[in-house]
Symmetry: C2
Subunit: 317 residues, 2 copies
């Protein structure tokens, strides 16, 4: 299933509004088919893996999301494809909350006599398909806020100079994050100061530069889409994963509305002292309100910088 | 040797201007003597361990610093005590830079036919006796700067409220740090706002509350010592380990003069946004100057908070 999740990760940021599913078919300890949701959402991972495998009699199929139960003009339901293919067993990570499937996919497989195992690495799958799940459950994209700071939380000198705080490895990592998101947003101040390209500058991934959004009530420049408020992200079609890159005002605007689900914190081992803060006014009136919201999900060194990934803890989420 | 270092750590913050040495005597796989420099500097670790062990014929003696070669009115030279005791072997972590010993201790032991092994865990020993070494080599105390911040580097809300950012475990850890330092310093602003007690509030360690220093050109209140500038720490007798606890002005004053050797960074998993910064103006004009100074030496979780320990990298240090 871990391998299927890695396949699913390939599509992240390019499949919206479809989930970025991964699928692996194994028989006699040998992988005979691999699939992942293709850009734009079709073919689905299962269809791709089945085509590769051919005959799947006696095989086990690992799939990161419940196979869809609904036909569409763009292709047959995956549950029907799988029933027709007749594998020995299907192992699934996560149920599909889409009401057109939600349990119906599994039921159809079992009714056809195929053994189904559920909930293998479900938590990891939820993290990998966070954008799709956020769209289904909260009606808006999954939002990652990226901050690159000194140890004392500064993002620039008092005059705005910020090149470079973090090193080459941290910046490369941030570009991989760009490559796996549907859209990137910056605030008006950052746009006016830096006119950032926000493209993916990594060999082999240049074609994966996401859509560019500007948090602004004014008209958007060419090649950009303006959104007037953080809440307006709910209206963005085909954006399931959103990366907020700066600056302090945009970060604060999203935090104030509790619209940040994941925090990517790149920290360089240096002190700046007086300088520009990473986050503006988020409307915090009492420290007690600030506690219990963020949980450290991952941390690693990137050269001499440290990356920490925090996830927003939501009740029942 | 690790056990000897742990014994030496017991004296940290209470032996200045003597080093906080640890000593362990082992024969036939059994510990027969343990010693550490006692409060005020006497007895020395070796003398204490030898007295406990009695006859050390055939034993190995682990000691974290080269045994002293100079007699004093307060006691005999440890090198002479060891020569008289005639152990089989002495294993040593660090040479003593004090010119009255510097190599003479080892030479005297070897001349008496005792085998000496040097440099075992020397780096760890240097960390444990950082205060003594700083005094010997830089002519001033070893300075630790403590910061307790949010993920975005804030130490308080805009109005100054800071209770509590970090949790109980982080605060208890900070009290252990207090118990192993000779003196604690705060700035005038912190004193006026909080009138902090700066004592050790941990069961069993109440008696280890260090001396209190105020960074101020005005007269010190009762129970406090005023120092007019960070450089003036060189004149403080019997302070080998200094802990700078706040606020942003005092932190900046010490950083501006490059007088911070170690950074204790307690970070709570929360965001504050607009609020008070941890560090004021440190006179940084170019980000390039800020790089290469700090190296992560240790990190651990304290409840849901994270502690990071950074050490100042000094050329040749």
């Amino acid at each position: 299933m871990a391998a299927a999740l890695a396949l699913g990760a390939r599509g992240r940021g390019r499949t919206a509004p479809n989930p970025n599913v991964g699928c692996l078919i194994v028989r006699d300890g040998r992988v005979i088919g691999r699939g992942w949701t293709q850009p734009g959402g079709r073919p689905h991972a299962e269809a791709m893996a089945l085509e590769q495998a051919g005959n799947v009699a006696g095989a086990t199929i690992y799939v990161t999301l419940e196979p869809c139960a609904h036909r569409s003009p763009r292709g047959p339901a995956c549950a029907d494809l799988l029933v027709a293919a007749r594998p020995a067993r299907i192992v699934m990570a996560l149920g599909d909350p889409d009401p057109r499937t939600d349990g119906l996919g599994v039921a159809r497989l079992r009714a056809a006599g195929i053994a189904v195992t559920e909930n293998l690495l479900a938590h990891e799958a939820a993290r990998g398909m966070a954008g799709f799940l956020s769209r289904q459950m909260l009606g808006r994209p999954h939002v990652t806020l990226k901050l690159a700071t000194s140890l004392d939380g500064r993002i620039a000198l008092p005059d705005g100079r910020s090149r470079w705080i973090t090193g080459a490895q941290a910046r490369a990592h941030a570009h991989v994050e760009r490559a796996t998101t549907d859209a990137i947003l910056v605030g008006r101040g950052t746009y006016d100061a830096d006119a950032p390209r926000l493209d993916v500058r990594l060999a082999g991934l240049e074609g994966r530069s996401p859509r560019r959004l500007l948090l602004s009530t004014r008209e958007a420049p060419e090649g950009w889409t303006a959104i007037a408020s953080p809440e307006a992200i709910a209206t963005l079609a085909d954006v399931d994963h959103l990366l907020v890159e700066g600056g302090a005002g945009a970060a604060a605007a999203f935090l104030r509305e509790d619209l940040v689900d994941r925090l990517l914190l790149y920290r360089a081992p240096l002190l700046i002292g007086e300088g520009r803060a990473a986050i503006g006014d988020i409307g915090l009136h009492d420290l007690a309100e600030a506690h219990g919201r963020w949980r450290l999900a991952d941390t690693r060194m990137l050269g001499s910088d440290r990356l920490e990934v925090y996830e927003r803890q939501r009740t029942g989420g």
